[in-house]
């Protein structure tokens, strides 16, 4: 290669790409402060929420990990997995089996779950080398269904329909003689957060080192990657193995959250939820998919809560008989319609706020955030209300389990139409700022036209 020695940064002009822009000391402190606040918020979250909701926070952290696992497949390798609930489930049941039948310590169980998760993912990865695109999605779909219906019902391994026990590690349970205010639930939530943080860092290093780059190159064009000396087979399998390992860890954490795991936690709906949260979060973006995971982790419990609230869902109190339930239906219909109208108006109003041409970047980001939040809440409240109202008519009670996927689909459509990059696209500027870049990305002026001697310009 050319043997010029690299000039010192001080000799380079400010426009030279070898001398990348870095924030001022004050800018650094501001970024670190915001980052610290976000971390503090995550750590404080289990303490702030009511005691009964702590496991919901843990669930959000676990979903964040699952989203990272999904992201390795969908985001980095570009293969859609519709059977990811099986990846997580294998980890969950492995951990449960090790904990109850083998009796190894909790961390060892997580390690085994990680390995088993990686191995089963490698098997699917071998298929991915032969079957691609749509057909591979079908294969994973079949794998997910098969695993849930057959493997997870092998009583000797998983306890079958009765499920399996997955006790939490001893070190998160407060000592018996310790009367502190920090409960085991909170400690377990922190443990899940620690795993999420560790996997986040590993994933970040993966994408900024040779392995992640090679995998992403394969996604775009495996022929080009091969021509650069990248072993297509090895790196495809690597991605699958990593995704499976992360899913295995998530499964182990998931199992111990409720201290119990049953095959019913790994239905096809769950697989779809995983795909949705990754897509709505923003495929390929770490913060995006994790936020998507948080959003969807909260979806089902919030729906259940709404469903159980008189006036929204099927009335529970005071109405054992069907007649009572039907009697309260009209207000719920009104509420449901109102919710949907609110959703529509909200979306339209915020769309103007978010997408107006003359908005500043901050306004657009804020507008987009409000938009996504409104879409989410509107979908939950409006559709929840509407379906609850239908449920009130006694006949349609069986529809209520469909609410979650329906809301998921609505969110997906809203995302794909308005913000194809999902939450990550909306948060692009603040995320760039937080990762020590500039808030406003400057449009480069050097593109198009032979500005430098010897460079090419577009043919007329």
């Amino acid at each position: 290669m050319a043997t010029t020695t690299a000039p010192a940064p001080s000799e380079l002009g400010t426009d030279d790409p070898r001398n990348p822009w870095t924030p001022s000391p004050a800018g650094r402190i501001a970024r670190l402060a915001v980052f610290g606040l976000l971390m503090a918020a995550a750590i404080a979250a289990p303490l702030i929420v009511p005691d009964v909701q702590v496991n919901l926070v843990t669930r959000a952290f676990v979903f964040g990990i699952i989203a990272l696992s999904m992201n390795i497949l969908i985001g980095y390798t570009g293969t859609v997995s519709l059977g990811h609930q099986a990846f997580v489930g294998v980890g969950a049941f492995t951990a449960a089996y090790i904990l109850t039948n083998v009796g190894l310590p909790w961390l060892a169980a997580v390690a085994v779950a990680m390995l088993v998760g990686a191995l089963q993912a490698l098997l699917i990865g071998v298929l991915a080398l032969r079957v691609q695109g749509f057909f591979f999605a079908i294969v994973t779909l079949a794998y997910g269904l098969f695993t849930k219906e057959v493997v997870f019902n092998i009583t000797a391994l998983t306890g079958g329909g009765a499920g399996a026990q997955a006790p939490r590690p001893a070190f998160v349970e407060p000592a018996a003689d310790y009367a502190g205010s920090i409960t085991g639930d909170v400690r377990y939530a922190w443990l899940a957060l620690a795993f999420l943080a560790a996997i986040w860092v590993l994933d970040w290093r993966f994408t900024s080192s040779r392995g992640g780059r090679a995998v992403q190159a394969l996604r775009d064009d495996s022929r080009v990657a091969a021509s650069w000396g990248i072993n297509v087979r090895a790196f495809t399998l690597l991605a699958f193995g990593l995704s499976g390992a992360v899913a295995g860890i998530a499964g182990a954490l998931f199992a111990s959250t409720q201290v119990f795991v049953s095959p019913e936690s790994f239905t096809l709906t769950v697989a779809l939820t995983y795909v949705l949260m990754t897509t709505v979060g923003g495929v390929g973006s770490r913060p995006g998919v994790v936020l998507g995971g948080f959003v969807f982790a909260g979806l089902a419990p919030i729906l259940t809560a709404l469903h159980d609230t008189p006036g929204w869902g099927v009335a529970e109190e005071g109405g054992e008989g069907a007649l009572d339930v039907c009697a309260t239906a009209p207000p719920r219909v009104v509420a449901g319609v109102f919710g949907l109208v609110l959703l529509g108006v909200g979306i339209e109003a915020v769309r103007h706020l978010a997408l107006g041409e003359r908005r500043t970047h901050v306004q657009r980001v804020l507008g987009g955030l409000i938009f996504l939040g409104a879409a989410w809440l509107g979908a939950v409240v409006g559709l929840g209300g509407a379906f609850g109202a239908l449920g009130g008519y006694c006949i349609f009670t069986s529809i209520t389990p469909l609410i979650e996927p329906v809301i998921g689909v609505v969110l997906l459509l809203v995302t794909l139409i308005q913000f194809p990059g999902g939450i990550a696209e909306q948060l692009e500027a603040p995320l760039r700022w937080l990762s020590f870049g500039k808030f406003h990305e400057e449009k480069s002026t050097s593109v198009g036209g032979g500005s430098a001697a010897g460079s090419s310009s577009m043919r007329p």
Partner: protein, 282 residues
């Protein structure tokens, strides 16, 4: 010159190609390459030899099998018959990435770059085969991996600087014109540090002046980087000027081979390109 310019004797040909000794092993060679796609014989019995530091050209009408031949040499197609040799070693059964490890770097007719990466990231990933740290070390952020990343970055900048593309380093590929993309592709292939550079239509999207500059750059690269270069290109005058030796493919078979001057005046070649009655090329 009216006869087909096929030189069968290796010694005679190497003498013609600059007085090399007959016992010298060519850097890249094929023997009897043939490939059949269903009923179509895309290539038949193609022999080629490329000596060190040569610039060898492949010309021929559309559909003559030039790119197919490239794919056979680089390992993307497995020839039905015949063998490919790199420095005398048979590589017919090796995968493309293994051949890349042996020093073959190639470009693609449709730009061969990672679309979602910036120019710099493309040059980072194309250095893949020279990275010494393990994937695990990279994931754990080991100091030596970070150190090597910094070296790779520097090298990527060096290559970009060498091709006058430095100003594009942080650009996403979406914003670049086709001609620029082809240049960036050459940079990415150079970053793989190949011994043999195989370029598939590198002039596509370039204007006449830029083609001129690119030709000079090729000669400079051969001299300064010690490259052996194989080119497919439609632009016949360019090829006759830059190449040391030219192969002409037509309907999957070698129609002629020889020094550029002999090819220029070869009546068969002229007829294949320009139609009946043409006497000379360009």
């Amino acid at each position: 010159m009216s006869t087909i310019d096929r030189i069968s004797s290796l010694a005679a040909r190497q003498a013609e190609r600059g007085g090399a000794t007959p016992d010298r092993v060519p850097v890249l060679s094929t023997r009897g390459i043939g490939i059949r796609f269903g009923g179509l014989q895309a290539l038949q019995d193609v022999d080629m030899e490329v000596n060190e530091y040569e610039i060898v050209g492949f010309i021929g009408p559309n559909g003559a099998g030039k790119t197919t031949f490239f794919n056979c040499v680089t390992g993307f197609y497995k020839p039905t018959t015949g063998d490919v040799f790199i420095r005398g070693e048979r590589v017919t059964d090796l995968r493309p990435d293994q051949r890349a490890n042996l020093g073959i770097g190639r470009s693609f007719q449709q730009v061969g770059l990672v679309r979602s990466f910036t120019v710099l990231e493309n040059l980072m990933v194309s250095q893949h085969q020279h990275v010494k740290y393990s994937v695990a070390a990279g994931m754990l952020g080991m100091p030596w991996s970070l150190e090597e990343e910094a070296t790779m970055r520097e090298r990527a900048f060096e290559v970009l600087d060498y091709l006058d593309l430095l100003h594009l380093a942080d650009e996403r590929l979406g914003g670049l014109s086709y001609g620029m993309l082809k240049q960036v592709e050459v940079a990415a292939v150079l970053a793989t540090d190949p011994d043999i550079l195989m370029l598939d239509e590198p002039l596509a999207g370039l204007g006449p002046e830029e083609s001129e500059i690119f030709g000079e750059r090729l000669l400079r690269m051969r001299r300064e980087l010690g490259l052996t270069i194989v080119i497919i290109e439609h632009h016949v005058p360019f090829m006759l000027r830059v190449c040391d030796y030219v192969y002409v493919l037509n309907f999957g078979q070698l129609l002629a081979e020889g020094l550029p001057e002999t090819i220029r005046t070869n009546r068969d070649v002229a007829e294949a390109y320009m139609g009946e009655g043409a006497a000379t090329l360009a």
